[in-house]
């Protein structure tokens, strides 16, 4: 078959080669999304192991060492395997369609940046079967603890290197595509918000992923080549690792949320039947958030012993982020004001995003205040905070995007009844899971422990029930996608929704293998401003 592969411009190659040699942005986008969904399930399964152990006090099912491996692997897989690749997948699928480009600018590099990922995660997951087990030092990899990792240590470092390479190449591709491949009339400030937020995210990725790579390289040389970057005995300083790590880590949290901001900025206008309120101010707000993310890192480490002036600086800089974020929240609210709103599944997920992300933002403000942070540090309050911004934040953003664009990808509507059921189950269970963690943290339960005092028993049981409910609800998500991909649903029109804005709705559903081979005309009707 391969010998007769004629390079037909109108269809994909057949069989496995279509995927291995993929250069088409839609194929690569699909692979990213499927990979991310698989990682979401693996990471979610690890979360359920954690929550099962924490269902009641005492050690029931797993030993503390394995518990630590689960918290570490859950975080690494969800951050680098589920959330980030899902956004890169959405970028691959949608950015060329939204700016009127025929493909991503660097299709072969695009292939590379995807195929590195399965390798990286095979390395990481293989550590579960090694002597000494998987990394157990937390995803933050603080030395000297992380240096006690067994055989898994070099695998951890190299898999982080590979994830970083993949993200950097993906980011370069996004920037070059957006800068060079826009349709002639697609001026920068006419670009849809999803494209804008991704442009900013891509710059963040290029700026900080290499810093993480540098930090883990130093860990590697400390362990194997006799350097003392972080070893006190040789004149190094373990606190320095925390500074370098969080210089990466704080922009990283915006890398995981900015594209979700972009997604809801697409969806809320469509289902409010009004243009996005304050498009340009959204762009400036996202840029300000990106800038501020570089000067707040030490709020993750208020307890290491910092001078008062340092604590005050990082506290105020952190609180400043609430301003541009507030601009965004008010703009989304203003977009809905007096709109003719309907509540299809993507809109429901976007609204839940708006409410629940704001709760996560508010607990973030509480954590920014130095005196209270010293109380909340490393408690379940922190766990509640970042899960509120990551699950109903990033994950709901991704799921909203999938429901919104799935008919464009598959050509068939998803089952609206099941979609709404999935939404309500997810929205209820996510709160049942994570809201009690606020109370646990305020009552003093530390994070990353397999056993706890009996006073915390009730809220932990509630959280575990919520987690199992949330996990099972996600099986419904897979089933809904499966139905739509198997064409079990009404044929989607090219617009799919009621007069949505954006170039992606001018191509048929499913989107043909090649689109915009000639640059489209950007009419004001279809553009965002």
């Amino acid at each position: 078959m391969s010998e007769h592969d004629h390079h037909d411009d109108h269809g994909p190659a057949k069989g496995i080669k279509r995927w291995l040699y993929a250069t088409n942005h839609k194929d690569i986008g699909t692979m990213y999304l499927v990979f991310s969904l698989a990682m979401f399930m693996i990471g979610g399964f690890m979360a359920l192991i954690i929550r099962t152990e924490l269902f009641s006090p005492g050690l029931q099912f797993i030993n503390p060492a394995f518990f630590n491996q689960m918290t570490t692997m859950h975080a690494l897989i969800m951050v680098f395997g589920a959330v980030m690749p899902a956004f890169v997948g959405l970028a691959n699928w949608m950015i060329p369609l939204m700016i009127g480009a025929p493909d991503m600018a660097l299709p072969r590099m695009n292939n590379w940046s995807f195929w590195i990922l399965p390798v990286a995660f095979s390395l990481l997951l293989s550590t579960l079967f090694m002597p000494g087990g998987a990394p157990a030092s937390g995803w933050t990899m603080y030395p000297p603890l992380v240096l006690q990792t067994g055989d898994a240590f070099p695998f951890l470092i190299f898999s982080v290197h590979l994830m970083g390479l993949s993200s950097i190449m993906g980011a370069i591709n996004v920037i070059v595509t957006i800068i060079n491949m826009r349709a002639p009339d697609m001026l920068l400030l006419r670009m849809p918000m999803f494209v804008w937020t991704w442009l900013i995210t891509a710059y963040l990725l290029i700026a900080v992923m290499p810093v993480l790579a540098g930090a883990v390289t130093m860990l590697l040389t400390d362990q194997f080549f006799g350097t003392s970057f972080f070893l006190a005995a040789g004149g190094g300083d373990p606190v320095m690792f925390q500074h370098i790590f969080w210089f990466f880590g704080h922009p990283e949290v915006y890398i995981m949320i900015l594209p979700a901001f972009g997604v809801v900025s697409e969806i809320i206008p469509t289902f409010s039947r009004k243009p996005l309120f304050g498009h340009d101010s959204m762009v400036y707000a996202a840029s300000s958030i990106a800038f501020l993310s570089f000067i707040v890192w030490a709020h993750h480490m208020f307890t290491v012993g910092m001078p008062l002036s340092g604590q005050l600086f990082f506290m105020f800089a952190t609180m400043l982020i609430a301003v541009p974020t507030g601009v965004k929240v008010f703009n989304w609210t203003a977009t809905m004001w007096r709109g003719a709103m309907t509540f299809e599944t993507p809109m429901l997920f976007s609204l839940a995003f708006l409410f629940l992300f704001t709760i996560g933002g508010l607990s973030g403000l509480m954590l920014a205040i130095v005196p209270s942070d010293i109380q909340y540090h490393d408690s379940y309050f922190v766990v509640a905070h970042f899960h509120y911004v990551l699950v109903p934040g990033a994950i709901f953003g991704i799921q909203a995007a999938v429901y919104y664009w799935l008919p464009k990808w598959s050509g068939h509507m998803y089952n609206e009844k099941l979609g709404k059921l999935h939404f309500w189950l997810s929205a209820v269970f996510v709160n049942v899971t994570f809201f009690p963690m606020h109370f646990l943290g305020l009552a003093g339960m530390p994070r990353r422990i397999p056993d706890y005092s009996t006073q915390f028993a009730n809220f932990n049981s509630v959280a575990s029930i919520g987690a199992i409910g949330f996990g099972l609800s996600q099986l419904l998500f897979i089933y809904i996608i499966w139905l739509s991909v198997r064409k079990q649903g009404a044929q989607a029109t090219s617009e799919v929704w009621d007069n949505p804005k954006g170039l992606e709705w001018t191509v048929p559903s499913p989107a043909p293998y090649h689109t915009f081979e000639r640059p489209p005309e950007v009419t004001t009707d279809k553009a965002f401003t």
Binding site: A105, M181, P210, V211, P307
Partner: protein, 183 residues
């Protein structure tokens, strides 16, 4: 299909991708640059509680009649079999005067080991005014099997020590030297 994409690929794509890759490389270097920056920052500000790591050339000055309590903390890094203690729990010093303090360490193993003591001073603002003239922490210390030895530090607390500081804690942590460990 490659042809189709190339047709619309703008001429600047490779150049832009190259510049972005350079930016990524530069940021990789920046990560390593943070290491000396961090050290210089800590040295200037005295943050991090680090003291001078080679003999300071501070002259004994007029002794200021101001009592500052000095407390000693000794610690052994996890898993390293050492006995390590200060000969006295603390002392009272006058800024400007030359003092010495003694510590005792014993190797609990039946083989020779090289140790490195790492000092730290609290509060951090006191670190840069705590000048060591001579210290067992400046070099690694060789211990024969089971050897017990007295270790000496000579120091001057500078009179510029901020007024509000009346207690300084000097802590030493004993490590197996990682130079010896890697050999």
């Amino acid at each position: 299909m490659g042809r189709q994409t190339e047709k619309r690929q703008e001429p600047g794509s490779a150049a832009l991708a190259g510049r972005l890759a350079l930016l990524a490389l530069a940021m990789f270097g920046f990560g390593f640059l943070l290491v000396p920056v961090y050290d210089v920052f800590c040295e200037i500000t005295g943050l991090g509680g680090k003291t001078n790591d080679s003999a300071a050339t501070v002259e004994e000055t007029a002794v200021v009649n101001r009592a500052v309590d000095l407390e000693f903390v000794t610690r052994v890094n996890q898993y390293a079999p050492w006995e390590f203690r200060a000969s006295q729990h603390g002392m009272t010093v006058n800024p400007g005067g030359l003092y010495e303090a003694r510590f005792v360490a014993r190797n609990l193993r039946d083989r020779a080991v090289t140790a490195q003591a790492v000092p730290s001073v609290a509060p951090q603002q006191a670190a840069k005014h705590f000048k060591k003239i001579d210290c067992f922490c400046f070099t690694t210390q060789e211990f024969a099997a089971g050897e017990e030895r007295e270790l000496l530090v000579r120091f001057i607390v500078e009179p510029e020590l901020p007024e509000h500081i009346d207690t300084i804690t000097l802590s030493y942590t004993f490590f197996d030297s990682n130079l010896a460990a890697s050999n």
